[in-house]
Amino acid sequence: MALRTSAQLFRLQALRQGTRLLSTQNIPNVAQNGGKVAEFPGVKAPYVTEMKFLNETSYDPIPIYRVMDNNGGIVDSREEPNLDKETLLYMYKTMIQLSQMDKILYESQRQGRISFYMTNYGEEGIHVGCAAALTPKDMIFAQYREVGVLLYRGMTITELINQCYGNDEDPGRGRQMPVHYGSAQHNIVTISSPLATQMPQAVGAAYALKRRPDNDSCVICFFGEGAASEGDAHAAFNFAATLECPVILLCRNNGYAISTPTNEQYRGDGIAARGPAMGLQTIRVDGTDALAMYNAVSKARRMTIDTNKPVLIEAMSYRVGHHSTSDDSSAYRSLEEIHKWTKDDSPITKFKRYIEHKGLWDEETDKTWTKECRNLVVRTMQEAEKKKKPHWKEMLEDVYYDMPPRIQNQMKQMENHLKKYGEHYPLDQHKSE
């Protein structure tokens, strides 16, 4: 009897400890019901007699993990990742390559050479930090502003630009808008426009990986803080936790969803606060700090593969560029605000200072590399522009694995139509038989 009581007391103590750990502020922990936890099947919790409603201020905000300061100095030396010279340089070079590609493709859209573009300014650190922590076996589900991850993974500038032009070398066969990249070879699932749809899909893919014998891979799924408002985000968090999937759900919180600021997107403590509420291992990271991103994703990857517990990472950043080429962000935010983030908190500048301190990089090398990146993009664009677009018949292929008779008939109809009216169509821009 005494043994049982002490066991109960011990359990109660453990519970109190747990409750305190969960809340960073004081939730009354006066247990009643004879010291027993209530027996509702829905939760394990003690009774209280003090009536208290909880809200977003009942908890301290989740802190932001960082490794570097704004000058590229390491804040706590125990947290500095042990990355070799090649990796550090590849990370930096990828960021520069990405920003140069963004710059030139953005301009080319303004000149009407491609129909649409979205830049990655301000979020380059998130991309390379994540990508460096993953292996090629890890499956990527992206939203659309993660090109740095794709570049780091090995997609070439040529592949990316061919997609933007929709020419005959685009593996997507010119069917989707620019920046909707995908590569089976690199394990990057093709991007689609509907927001957050990739999230429950990533969870399903992770479940499939988990069931493979000796699995040593996970899925990473990127989404913005705006997309996190979609129902699919809720579905993904809940399915990932209840079905125990090896998935990293990575939110890029850049402050805006097109023109909508975060205080019109949510009223809680960002996206991260939703994680523990749904049973996810959660951390908030400085997304302008590529080293912090690297650490968080490395740890998350190991953890999620070993335990099949999903991880939520909220990477804080600022969307420095316009939402897309169809958006003028000065209509809803000030230039000073943008300027602050390009000056003090640029992930590229921060990382550059870090590798300069280490003696791996200097101003001269920086200029040469930037120029090289620029030239590569310009040259690739010129080549991409010259290439013909796919044959018009590819418009009707891949709808199904085998073409149904009705689509075959429609192809025949179009073929006959083009025989008569071909001169009214841009046939010369497309490949012929």
């Binding site: 593996p171 997507g172 699932v189 093709t190 429950p200 399903g204 399915f239 709808v399 008779p405 689509i407």
Partner: protein, 368 residues
């Protein structure tokens, strides 16, 4: 006292009879015509449609180690018992419950299929498939096309009980096949009974395109046939001619096929004419050839479905017939369908395109 007991018992019996009468009237607007032809040789076993579907999933789980079955309440066998016993047999990681969220179920299934697993998702009622509409129409249907064939989710099959059940009201009676028929890239399939259900479901599961498999729930228990116990498939995109004649072509799918078979029998008895009866089976892509060949022969066509008339799949069939068989038509194509109203509760007998409404339409066609 003893007298009273007898009296009460009599009253009770009368009451039970009355209720049974009502239920019968409400839930059987059709006579079930079992399949007599076997698609394959070999051993058969008496199965209702629920058991035939269970059998198809059993075969899949046995032969395909990547296959998983999931949805709301699937773990204990499902609310219609289609997954009965599968969790015990194949384990909790292969047959499992999901949280109550249709968009999650569809998205999760797409992900599984993208990563190379065979995914059999259940939406508890077709009426609740609409939260998953975005995942199915924007994602599943377009995955292969938009990636240039690099990615696909052809290994996804979404099963959903659909159609009238006698008392299902607005949200346990719908037939949403027409909604999905507009989404190129999907396959939409509706079986008419146990033999068809097993063969078509196995085809859907193995087909390299994402499939929506709508199971007429009124047939789960009421339809029983000698179903081959072995592994067999029936072709997708193909209609089946169940009865032949020269007076008119009757086209339907699911439960409505049985209504049309009875109408054909009535026409034979009362009007002395014989009709072609076609079970379309696949709504998307559909078998235009079989339907048009029949109409070219008969010159008259009646399409019947439970879903509302306006923009129902009957409209697509009628328009195609008009285009392809214009010179053969002796009368305008007729459609007998649900009215353009939500599916009602107590008015169900007036709402459905039952044999009398179909028969009336057919007599008008024949006398045109």
């Amino acid at each position: 006292m003893a007298n009273l007991v007898v009296k009460n018992t009599n009253l009770f019996t009368k009451l039970v009879k009355h209720i049974n009468g009502c239920t019968k009237r409400l839930s059987s607007h059709f006579i079930y015509f079992p399949d007599n032809e076997k698609p394959v040789e070999g051993e058969t076993s008496k199965m209702n449609m629920m058991q035939a579907i269970n059998n198809a999933m059993d075969i899949t789980l046995k032969t395909d180690p990547t296959a998983v079955v999931f949805g709301e309440d699937v773990g204990f066998g499902g609310v219609f018992r289609c997954a009965l016993g599968l969790q015990e047999k194949y384990g909790k990681d292969r047959v499992f419950n999901t949280p109550l969220c249709e968009q999650g179920i569809a998205g999760f299934g797409i992900g599984l299929a993208t990563a190379g697993a065979t995914a059999i998702a259940e939406i508890q009622f077709a009426d609740y498939i609409f939260p998953a509409f975005d995942q199915l129409v924007n994602e599943a249907a377009k995955a292969r096309y938009r990636s240039g064939g690099q990615f696909a989710c052809g290994a996804l099959t979404v099963r959903a009980p659909s159609g009238a059940v006698g008392h299902g009201g607005l949200y346990h009676s719908q037939s949403p096949e027409g909604m999905f028929a507009h989404a190129a890239g999907l396959r939409v399939v509706v079986p008419r009974g146990p033999i068809a259900a097993k063969g078509l479901l196995l085809s859907c599961i193995r087909e390299k395109d994402p499939c929506i498999f709508l199971e007429p729930k009124i047939l789960y228990r009421s339809a029983a046939e000698d179903v081959p116990t072995g592994d067999y498939t029936l072709p997708l995109g193909k209609a089946q001619v169940l009865r032949t004649g020269d007076a008119a072509t009757l086209v339907g799918w699911g439960t409505q096929v049985h209504v049309l078979l009875e109408v054909a029998r009535m026409a034979d008895e009362k009007l002395g004419v014989k009709c072609d009866v076609i079970d379309l089976q696949s709504i998307l892509p559909w078998d235009e050839e079989t339907v048009c060949n029949s109409v070219k022969k008969t010159g008259r066509c009646l399409v019947a479905h439970e879903a509302p008339l306006t923009a129902g799949f009957g409209a697509e069939i009628a328009a195609t017939i008009q285009e392809e068989c214009f010179l053969h038509l002796e009368a305008p194509v007729r459609r007998a369908a649900g009215w353009d109203a939500p599916f009602p509760h107590v008015f169900e007998p007036f709402y459905l395109p039952d044999k009398w409404r179909c028969y009336e339409a057919l007599t008008e066609l024949v006398n045109y």
